[in-house]
């Protein structure tokens, strides 16, 4: 175990570059057709000759294709840099790692802020409603384009976990394993409720203008509030107490209702920062696709998983109250009832939902060994000496 722990702090993938794949059209679940479609993606490591070492990483609501390394001339490392790189959980010396920005996103893939070829203006609300399955169908086109018959694994946290489940259900012959982390097969009313408050905050912003804000001021306040709500749900009572306590900010002005407490300042900062990098309409479309997601489309999950040969590793976190462990356990239960080999671990973390981005050490251990087993196709390790 010590070895992996040391390695998890290993090297970075270094400077990486976004790539773009454009295809003619995508038939959406709504019946509408989106044409053309571009996906921004990044790859790390080298695809082996058999093309058997490809892993597709699936990002969460506000993520993007930039998982690891840095872009030329920038300092920001990717959103899961602790997990992707040489010697890390997704070892780029061994595996070929792909991550694409989701359909509907705003980081290079086609979304509501993209130009509508029919009007030569941003789609805004002319953009069709998309689903998690649509995102996965677009990713499937990318994976086909890269010449990969079968993925070693599909993996993601939160909304990324939903995409992993969608891959498993829709393309079982295309994946050898799936790793859904801190996720659910479908949203509970509580989860939908939080998303709805976020959407309402955006739509209540006078600058939102029914989505037509691209040539004027952005609905910044609304999107920032949505993000603030999000951040509250990503943390836990304990992690907030540890991070902020009831600490007051030093340089508060003598104005009523200014951000006195550290936690207020943090939320405002996070909210304001988010506005610079995320599109409000994308936030509406993506959260709606998450709320509408149902891995088994009204049937029982066990039923749709029946006969699937892929191996599954499910990870949850004890303090995650946004995606509570019981939702992961339901996925595990369905896997077992359908005969899928599923390993499940509930990591004892205080970070709340954010834990899937932060608990790299434990995740590295679980994922490293799980991927090894799937890649080399063994039942148990060769030597007993562990």
């Amino acid at each position: 175990m010590t070895k992996e722990r040391r390695d998890s702090k290993g090297n970075s993938v270094g400077v990486v570059q976004a790539q773009y794949f454009t295809f003619d059209a995508l038939q959406l679940e709504s019946g509408e057709k989106l044409a053309p479609v571009t996906l921004a993606y990044e790859t790390y490591g080298i695809l082996n000759e058999k093309k058997s070492n490809a892993i597709l990483i699936l990002h969460a609501l506000s993520g993007d294709a930039h998982v690891a390394g840095v872009h030329e001339g920038q300092n920001n490392t990717g959103w899961w840099d602790a997990m992707v790189g040489p010697g890390k959980a997704f070892d780029t010396n061994k595996y070929y790692v792909i991550c694409s920005n989701v359909l509907g996103g705003c980081k290079g893939s086609t979304g509501p802020s993209s130009i509508n070829p029919k009007t030569s203006r941003p789609y805004a609300l002319d953009f069709p409603l998309i689903t998690i399955n649509d995102m996965v169908n677009a990713q499937k086109r990318l994976v086909d384009h890269l010449g990969i018959e079968k993925l070693l694994s599909v993996v993601g946290g939160s909304m990324g976990g939903m995409q992993a489940l969608s891959w498993l259900v829709r393309y079982p012959e295309k994946v050898r394993s799936a790793i859904p982390i801190a996720t659910a097969a479908r949203h509970s009313p509580q989860q939908i409720a939080f998303d709805e408050v976020g959407r309402q905050a955006i739509m209540a912003d006078p600058y939102w203008k029914s989505g037509n804000y691209y040539d004027g001021p952005l609905p910044a306040k609304g999107l920032a509030v949505a993000r603030m709500i999000g951040h509250i749900t990503y943390m836990s009572d304990v992690s907030m107490t540890e991070k902020f306590g009831r600490q007051k900010k030093n340089n508060t002005q003598n104005v009523k209702f200014t951000a006195d407490f550290e936690v207020e300042g943090y939320l405002r900062y996070r909210g304001d920062n988010f506005v610079k990098r995320f599109d409000a309409n994308s936030y509406l479309y993506i959260t709606k696709s998450i709320d509408n997601f149902d891995a088994s489309n009204g049937r029982s999950l066990q039923e749709v998983l029946e006969g699937i040969k892929a191996k599954v590793l499910v990870i949850a976190f004890k303090s995650d109250w946004l995606y509570p462990a019981y939702q992961s356990k339901e996925i595990v239960k369905a896997c077992k009832l359908s005969g899928i080999e599923a390993t499940y671990c509930e990591i004892d973390s205080t970070y709340g939902h954010d834990a899937f981005l932060l608990e790299a050490e434990e995740e590295t251990h679980l994922i490293t060994h799980f991927l090894k087993k799937v890649f080399y196709e063994y039942e148990v390790t060769g030597s007993y000496d562990i």
Binding site: K329, E341, A342, Y344, E346, H369
Partner: protein, 204 residues
């Protein structure tokens, strides 16, 4: 690894299990037994374990293991979905052994149960002469830090099986370094039972 290095109780279980069978190990710990069974008997096995650190060790061995509490039920398994369900030294540690055993007999065609014998002669002597909570090779814990919640003897379990109409298919009584044949309720540290549902449930 050589056969002799395998723990005696593991060796006994290894001898009881049919090759290439399917196994669910309840309270599999760090997965030693499961690992040996897969290696030596080519079984298809998976475990349930409540301790997170033990889960990591299982995963490192390549085992399929689920982080959960066997007391909270085995609802995720169909009836008779395993050839064997194993409760090795975990039986006396669950909150409701009666419920867990019933569930084990539901999901397994056969169940292997092993537990420390509370009527071992040293236990009796320690209570009788010292008046203290006994500690033996199979009950190595102080009263204040024992994971054991239930204390039963081999005779207790035989009586229980009779009462519950559980069929005892095989018994192995384990002493310090060898199996015990005579007066096991006196001289065995551990009682190991291969059981199945009673007659009325057979043929299911």
């Amino acid at each position: 690894m050589t056969y002799e290095n395998i723990r005696l109780d593991h060796r006994v279980i290894l001898g009881l299990v049919e090759p290439c069978s399917t196994i669910l190990d309840l309270g599999c710990g760090t997965g030693e037994l499961l690992y040996i069974l897969i290696k030596e008997k080519n079984v298809r096995g998976q475990g349930i374990e409540i301790d997170e650190k033990a889960i990591y060790k299982c995963v490192a061995k390549g085992l399929t293991v689920s982080h959960s509490d066997i007391d909270s039920g085995l609802a995720e398994y169909r009836d008779k979905s395993f050839d064997y369900v194993i409760l090795n030294q975990s039986f006396q540690q669950v909150k409701k052994p009666d419920v867990v055993l019933r569930e084990a007999l539901r999901v397994g065609k056969k169940v292997i149960v092993a537990f420390p014998n509370f009527a071992y002669y040293q236990v009796r002597l320690q209570i009788f002469f010292k008046g203290k909570t006994p500690m033996t090779a199979s009950l190595p814990y102080e009263w204040y830090d024992t994971p054991n919640l239930h204390f039963l003897s081999i005779s207790d379990f035989i009586g229980y099986c009779r009462k519950r109409n559980i069929k005892v298919e095989e018994t192995v009584f384990i002493g310090k370094n060898k199996t015990v044949k005579i007066f096991p309720n006196w001289f065995a540290l551990t009682g190991l039972f291969l059981i199945s549902s009673g007659k009325k449930c057979q043929g299911e």
